[in-house]
């Protein structure tokens, strides 16, 4: 049960406030912001309480999405709800930022009104909601220097269409995205200490009428350690779970997922793989760290990209046209940005750092190196979409997109 929902900007401006049960006063917003600002650190704890008021919040798009609730309610439900709400707002308004929320406040109130009644979640399905939501989304100017909150770590080249519910008559499109997140730890001796991949298949459907859709995965896709299929190199994952609307009658024999996609975005399948990557990790680092005669710290980093040559290009922290490096004294880190990195090549960098009071022991303090990157057209597990069939056959021009991308969730190389 949720008694209030509010959205705050990072500076504490009230963007949206809705009280569903009228049980606690509207000063809750102030209390919450006081608590947030009183704490140091990068993010306050997810659950905070003030007397018998419990705040649960998530941060998305630089905003605080907060729900107040009772102590016995399920944190899983509330956090999932807040995430879902943020996703809905993003679907309707095109992006999540202080500005877009401010401009679309009427739409968000309307949304909240339909999604929650008397603190009980009614529905969050975009199929149902599209019948009720009447307000048109207002777009913020797409390119604005002031709108910095849109600039994320990783450039969104899979940019979302703005407010897709608003213009139904437009192009009919369907996107099937295979998104993987890697978390890798490579030891100082170059040994792979941990490699996890969390993957999902996401369907974004903007087709006016689509009764059934069939997604074929690799024939040799196998689950668990024992099961092996096909003759080629097996594509193996440890665990798989499906959305409840997916019918699996052809999955065992032909690796085909059947589903009736609803409008909007949904995660059809999630899978994970631990420790047993089919290929070598995409990046290796060869660091040399020493102290030069002038008491400076020398870091010589050689970074190698082990992807097949000429097939893939990779991005690190894209934001400038050329390589650049920057020292961030606050977080005591050097940020090296590489806009484009071709497979099979190698990059080197030499950093000289003036460190006051450098001792030989300080060398032990250097590290680890964290990489954040995005690899388009590649999945670490090798999962591929064999085909995508829609029925009934779509009249007129419809566009189908199958996209693969691998993100670094956490790619750490110890020194």
């Amino acid at each position: 049960m949720i008694s209030q929902v509010f959205i705050l900007s990072s500076k504490g401006d009230h963007l949206i406030y809705k009280d569903f049960r009228g049980e606690s006063g509207s000063d809750a917003v102030g209390v919450f912001y006081e608590k947030v600002t009183a704490l140091t650190g990068d993010q306050p704890p997810v659950v905070m309480s003030h007397k018998d008021l419990h705040f649960v919040h998530v941060r998305q798009g630089g905003l605080y999405w907060v729900a107040t609730t009772t102590a016995d309610s399920s944190p899983f439900t509330i956090i999932e709800f807040l995430n879902r709400l943020a996703a809905l707002v993003k679907d309707y308004c095109g992006s999540l930022s202080e500005k877009s929320v401010q401009m679309n406040f009427a739409l968000i109130y309307e949304l909240l009104d339909e999604v929650v009644d008397y603190g009980y979640i009614q529905t969050t399905s975009s199929d149902v909601l599209k019948n009720f939501i009447q307000t048109e989304a207002v777009s913020s100017r797409p390119f604005s220097l002031f709108d910095l909150s849109n600039v994320g770590l990783v450039q969104k080249q899979l940019s979302r269409r703005l407010g897709f519910f608003s213009f139904q008559g437009g192009k009919s499109e369907i996107f099937v995205d295979v998104i993987e997140r890697m978390s890798v730890v490579i030891g100082s001796n170059g040994m792979l200490m941990k490699a996890d991949v969390e993957g999902e298949i996401r369907v974004k459907c903007y087709l006016p009428n689509c009764s059934e859709m069939r997604i074929g995965l690799n024939e040799e896709f196998s689950i668990g350690k024992s099961q092996l299929r096909g003759y080629g190199a097996a594509v193996r994952v440890d665990e798989v779970s499906f959305h409840q609307m997916v019918r699996l009658d052809e999955f065992d024999s032909h690796r085909i997922l059947r589903l009736c996609p609803s409008q909007g975005e949904q995660t059809v399948m999630q899978y994970q793989l631990s420790d047993d990557l089919p290929s070598a990790p995409p990046f290796r680092l060869f660091p040399t760290i020493e102290r030069d005669s002038g008491g400076r710290l020398l870091m010589y980093l050689k970074l190698r990209c082990d992807l097949p040559p000429k097939r893939f290009s990779t991005f690190h922290n894209l934001s400038s046209p050329d390589q650049s490096a920057e020292l961030k004294p606050q977080s005591r880190a050097v940020v090296w940005k590489i806009p484009r990195f071709t497979g099979g090549t190698q990059l080197s960098a030499l950093f000289k750092l003036e460190v006051p009071g450098l001792s030989s022991a300080s060398l032990l303090e250097v590290g680890p190196v964290g990489l954040s990157f995005e690899l388009p057209k590649l999945t670490a597990t090798g999962v591929q979409i064999r085909f995508l069939r829609l029925s009934p056959v779509q009249p007129g021009p419809s566009q189908r997109w199958v996209r693969y991308v691998t993100h670094s969730d956490s790619y750490t190389i110890r020194i």
Partner: protein, 825 residues
């Protein structure tokens, strides 16, 4: 907007902030200038609901516009209607009379052919929250329950709950309740779930909606139709159901199996919660369910949303309390990502500490070592103390890492390391040599008071082994004038006193200076009193001082134990899937800021140091909450069973070596001459029937024993044969001034007892345990009837002899064992 003032300001952006500041600054001040004489001026606004509602959502008080908004709601534009309703619901409470005007429009809308308009009107009618309007709302709500459109029925059902809560004292209309029950069979799943929610609220006083067998099975069958929110709600309500037979229970469980491994964490958590409450009597099923959710929980730990990760982590910590090995093979999933926020990293480290075992300890420590130099000092300190926790089981490796960290000479790292070493030494005295060696020279980098307190404590307790201890203390004493921290001063006093006891020649002079300063110049009363106390203590003589100051060097409650006990699932089942587990951690980390280890109470156990003499009849006061019901009941039983006021005490403490010496020496003597003639001690053997004691975890046994002030010294691990426990205590009868020492052994061989016999090794056997004898005989026969290898042999040794006390002790011990075994069974 405010056009008149706009031209004065120049054309600026029209945004809320401007709008507001224009109102506040320009409008009011200009009005004051233009119409200085009177307040009689009119503010004209365009009254577009869009503007008003927006300004309201920014927190501007727009209640003055209420009457205009009332008029605006009679529009055909649905978007405008919705906005007006948002406004009206926010301010209705301030204008009850004007709100009456809205009701007519709303009631008219309830007849609208468009179901969306109907549901909108109905929802907002009930959202006005005005008790005076109830009479106008009831009729449309009743009609709403029978509406053709599901969306109207959804609103109407919840509307009754809102209405009821507006007037909680009013009678519950039985017709409405019946209608709501029948709507549980509504074809729309959301209406069904809303009915459950509404009935829960309306029938709150009767304990919520009635969950009987037909309703349960109806709900379970329709579970698949609901979306995840509905499923969670249904699963939560079903927790109250008690299946009538085991077959039914397993039918339900197999229906629920699919949702137990649902990819949606809310459904998975709600299902597990339901499992735990349905099978509360079947621990094996519970454990199997926990194994089953491992996959989904781990997946949630890798979720894209940080908050979801955090929630899953907190719940995994709960699960680990019952199955410590549950995640052992998956420890790598808990390695921290470099971009994760500090609060997730700290939780992950807490989990990692739990997962450590012989195979992964090297990897784990390597990983944790990497976190120790984290930029975030909190994370670094958490990593260091995590290594310290692992050090309780793998002390050598951990000490090596900790000592290495001291070499970095970073003040926050050094401080954390010294504190961690102090805590480690307190539980593992065998580490003290390495620690003492490592301490040399680290005082130069220590800055904060916590770290210095820890260092001082270590220097005080192990001063004789750290060669430079006096010099370090001297530096502190020379700087005591500029010392700001009270804690450091107090610790300095104690440490200097302790050092004086073992190295008087080097310390005497500086102790004198310190005491002089503290007594003569110090302004803080606590420090002054402490100094005066020590000063007077020194007057009493060196032996007295030694007695007071040479306290324990290690935690007396920890014997040979390592790791945590496996708690029964019921301990935490109630807090599963609530906000509780997410909040606990913050408290745990706070406890890191503390002084010397003697002053902390570990866990819920009453600290032996603090409760030196504890009268059994007053035990209720001492036990703390989380150890829970078993202690409560045992305390009650104890209070009633002990007739003679007998107190047990742990003081003076007995070292394991001393125990061994006494035990073996007398044992040998005892074996030599069956009829021991010695006057000052007595042997006694008894059999106590307590079937499950040997399976009981050493920790719970220890905790229970400590509660009645019996100290357990050593254990064999549970489930091993023969199973032994050694324990001791001091007894003191109220009427006799002197106390006696009792040593004891519990032995369970797993074999048939020869005969329930009471074997007293004392000369005069008439001192009565007749009652016990009878009881034992009876128990013995019962035991044999049960197949009877379930008795634990208790051997006790008392010195000096005091049969009354021994008998009292025996009855306490028996009660504790019985309580524990009934708890287990």
């Amino acid at each position: 907007m405010i056009w008149g003032f706009f031209s004065l300001d120049g054309t600026g952006q029209i945004n809320q902030v401007m709008y507001r500041t224009t109102h506040e600054n320009s409008l009011l001040s200009s009005a004051g200038k233009l119409f200085p004489a009177s307040n009689d001026w009119i503010f004209q606004q365009d009254n577009a609901p869009y503007h008003t509602a927006r300004a309201m959502s920014q927190g501007v008080d727009m209640s003055g516009l209420f009457s205009e908004m009332v008029k605006a709601c009679a529009t055909v534009d649905v978007v405008q209607k919705k906005l007006v309703y948002v406004f009206l619901c926010s301010y209705a409470a301030l204008n009850p009379e004007l709100s009456l005007l809205v009701i007519n429009t709303l009631r008219k809308d309830c007849q609208d052919p468009n179901p969306m308009v109907r549901s909108l009107a109905l929802r907002n009618m009930t959202n006005l929250r005005l008790p005076s309007l109830v009479e106008y709302v009831e009729q449309p709500l009743t009609a709403g329950l029978r509406d053709r459109a599901a969306c109207v029925r959804r609103v109407a059902v919840l509307g009754w709950a809102k209405l009821h809560n507006l007037q909680p004292s009013s009678e519950i209309d039985a017709a409405v309740v019946n209608e709501l029950y029948s709507l549980l069979r509504d074809p729309d799943p959301v209406v069904m779930v809303n009915c459950l929610r509404a009935l829960e609220e309306i029938l709150k006083d009767e304990g919520g909606v009635a969950i009987n067998k037909p309703i349960t099975h109806h709900l379970l069958n329709r579970l698949k139709e609901c979306d995840i929110w509905g499923q969670c709600e249904v699963l939560r309500v079903l927790q109250r159901y008690r299946p009538q037979s085991e077959d039914e229970l397993f039918d339900i469980l197999s229906l629920l199996d699919a949702s137990l491994v649902s990819p949606h964490p809310p459904v998975m958590a709600a299902t597990l919660s339901l499992f735990l409450s349905l099978c509360s009597g079947q621990p094996a099923v519970n454990l199997a369910a926990l194994e089953r959710v491992r996959g989904p929980l781990l997946a949630a730990c890798g979720s894209g949303s940080r908050e979801m990760r955090f929630t899953a982590l907190c719940h995994i910590q709960l699960l680990l309390r019952s199955i410590p090995g549950l995640m052992g093979a998956h420890y790598k999933r808990f390695f921290c990502g470099y971009a994760e926020p500090a609060y997730i990293k700290q939780r992950k480290m807490q989990v990692l500490v739990e997962l450590v075992n012989d195979e992964n300890v090297a990897m784990l420590l390597d990983e944790l070592k990497g976190y120790c130099t984290d930029v975030n000092t909190d994370t670094a300190q958490a990593a260091i103390s995590a290594i310290g926790r692992i050090g309780r089981s793998y002390s050598d490796r951990c000490l090596e890492i900790l000592t290495g960290l001291l070499g970095l000479k970073q003040d926050h790292i050094t401080s954390a390391v010294v504190q961690t070493m102090r805590d480690l030494v307190w539980v593992c005295p065998q580490c003290s040599d390495t620690v003492c060696f490592a301490l040399e020279g680290c005082e130069e980098t220590l800055q904060d008071s916590q770290g210095r307190q820890a260092l001082l404590w270590l220097l005080g307790v192990y001063g004789e082994r750290v060669s430079s201890a006096p010099y370090t203390l001297e530096v502190f004493i020379d700087g005591v004038r500029s010392e700001a921290s009270l804690g450091v001063k107090m610790e300095l006093l104690t440490a200097t006193m302790r050092l004086f006891l073992c190295r008087p020649a080097e310390t005497q002079d500086m102790l004198g200076r310190l005491l002089h300063y503290c007594i003569e110049e110090e302004t803080d009363m606590c420090v002054r009193d402490q100094a005066l106390l020590y000063y007077r203590l020194l007057h009493c003589g060196i032996e007295e001082t030694r007695k007071v100051l040479q306290g324990r060097r290690s935690d007396p409650s920890l014997g040979v134990l390592i790791g945590r006990p496996a708690e029964p699932v019921s301990q935490w089942a109630r807090s599963f899937n609530t906000l509780e587990p997410l909040r606990q951690g913050s408290i745990e980390t706070e406890s890191a800021s503390r002084g010397s280890p003697e002053h902390t109470t570990f866990d819920p156990k009453p600290n032996a140091d603090l409760s030196d003499t504890l009268d059994c009849s007053h035990i209720e006061k001492v036990h703390s909450d989380s150890d829970g019901r078993c202690l409560d009941s045992s305390a009650d039983i104890l209070a009633s069973s002990v007739a003679a006021p007998l107190s047990l005490s742990l003081f003076p403490a007995l070292s394991p070596e001393e125990f061994e010496r006494l035990w073996l020496q007398q044992r040998a003597l005892h074996a030599e001459q069956e009829e021991a003639e010695e006057e000052d001690f007595v042997w006694m053997e008894e059999c106590v029937r307590c079937p499950t004691i040997p399976c009981c975890s050493p920790q719970s046994l220890q905790a229970a024993m400590q509660l009645v002030n019996i100290q357990t010294l050593a254990f064999t691990p549970p489930q091993t044969l023969p199973w032994r426990v050694y324990l001791y205590t001091h007894t003191c009868l109220d009427d006799s001034p002197h106390s006696t020492l009792i040593l004891g052994e519990l032995l369970y061989t797993g074999e048939e007892p020869q005969k329930a016999e009471v074997n007293k090794g004392s000369a005069d056997g008439e001192v009565g345990v007749e009652g016990t004898e009878d009881e034992q005989a009876r128990q013995g026969t019962e035991a044999t009837a049960d197949g009877g290898q379930e008795t634990v042999k208790v051997t006790l040794r008392q010195q000096p002899r005091d049969d009354k006390a021994l008998k009292g002790f025996m009855s306490i011990l028996t009660t504790v064992l019985h309580t524990l075994s009934s708890e287990k069974a």
